[in-house]
Symmetry: C2
């Protein structure tokens, strides 16, 4: 590990919990969240735009790994053993290596979600890696050479970790993309996630519109012979708390 990189402070937007992981392979799992600032993508429906659009610029704090751990312990005391690092894209930050080391040193499991556009060596030390490449509705384009490389490196790395692919689905085009991704990495556990088209503010009938989207997704998953071993999941935190931050 590069010591100067690892001791560099981390740009943090939110530290919160304990709560549950609302989505993906560890859905429902008790966890704390550390949300880092900055993203190399600009997804049209990003639910964390404030991490990169400048609107929360003055809320970004430059924290050392020790300060982050202190804050996690202040909030969660002895009630947690799992921390999710989310963004933005945490893979922009080499210095997260040292945060992982601090957490593991305390017996705390780590999870990360990323779109899979960048590599950092610390990724192999994360216990639960979610790769969430973005479908056409996001307006972004996947660099499959980079994603291939990330999946290959994680496969080759020693140590036990959980890995999954999770694709947000808004429409048929996204589903076509998802099927392509699943075919490319058939052995990686695969999750389709209901898209949330209204990511800001209070929305009328939000829950029922999300559940309708989820029902549609279940129906499509049911039909498709090439998606036998997939999961379809909503975002539970959005059902419970809408677009509120910090829960």
């Amino acid at each position: 590990m590069n010591v100067s990189a690892s001791s560099r402070p981390i740009p943090v937007l939110e530290v919160f919990g304990p709560t549950i992981q609302g989505e993906g392979m560890s859905i429902g799992r008790k966890t704390m969240f550390v949300r880092t600032a900055g993203c190399d993508y600009r997804c049209s429906w990003c639910d964390s735009k404030f991490t990169w659009d400048g609107s929360a610029k003055d809320q970004i704090r430059m924290l050392s790994p020790e300060q982050i751990v202190d804050e996690l312990l202040d909030l969660g005391g002895d009630t947690f053993d799992h921390v999710t690092i989310s963004g933005g894209n945490p893979l922009l930050l080499p210095q997260i290596a040292y945060l992982i080391q601090e957490l593991h040193g305390r017996g705390i499991r780590t999870a990360v979600e990323t779109q899979g556009s960048r590599w950092q060596d610390w990724l192999v030390r994360i216990d639960e890696v979610t790769l969430s490449p973005k479908p056409p509705s996001s307006g972004m384009e996947t660099d499959f050479d980079v994603l291939d490389d990330i999946v290959a490196r994680l496969r080759e790395a020693s140590g036990r970790r959980d890995l999954c692919l999770k694709i947000v689905i808004f429409d048929e085009e996204d589903l076509t993309y998802a099927r392509f991704v699943h075919k490319r990495y058939p052995d990686v556990p695969f999750i389709l996630q209901t898209g949330n088209p209204q990511v800001a503010g209070e929305v009328q009938d939000h829950v029922s519109s999300l559940l309708q989207r989820y029902e549609w997704l279940i129906g499509r998953l049911s039909d498709l012979p090439d998606l036998k071993d997939a999961r379809a999941l909503p975002q539970l935190h959005t059902l419970v708390w809408g677009n509120k931050r910090g829960v």
Copy 2:
């Protein structure tokens, strides 16, 4: 395997799918369902009372394993690779052994949920076993000698399988029970599930009342230091379809 037992027909109430597993460790996973008739419990809030209260007596069909597989294939074609056997309590039926064999012979994974009151040798051949002992609000009492024995036998059995404990939570007393269970089997993945107090017919504001219960459960889970590595989950099928059967 006892051949005469395995060729005995199975009392079946429902065969349906493909849909998703709405709860537990494989939440969101595409699956087909086979619901067997009969239960040795009488839970106050049972959401499948028709499997044992006589109300659906004339819908019970005595089907051979081959007939069940034919019906699954008629419904699901080549779109599925996973079948969930639910009840009632499927563990009352030794002849399910042969159904499992038929399914595995076709490369289909199997899941079972049971309260953990009875043993059958075929349980070790199930790929995903959910033990769901019933908390005080059910009105039932857990025989922990039997549950100990089931957990021990599953642990000792060769072969890979997923095992979890899932407890339905209505109130603080149920939560106390759940903590006791988790402490007794600390290594078994542990899930708290939101209780559904209104299990029949159409219910006004059902979704919002279920989400409120879920939010309460997340809050309690967050507080408890002895439930670090637990999950809290709602029943997704109940959020999407209410109390409708066969979805």
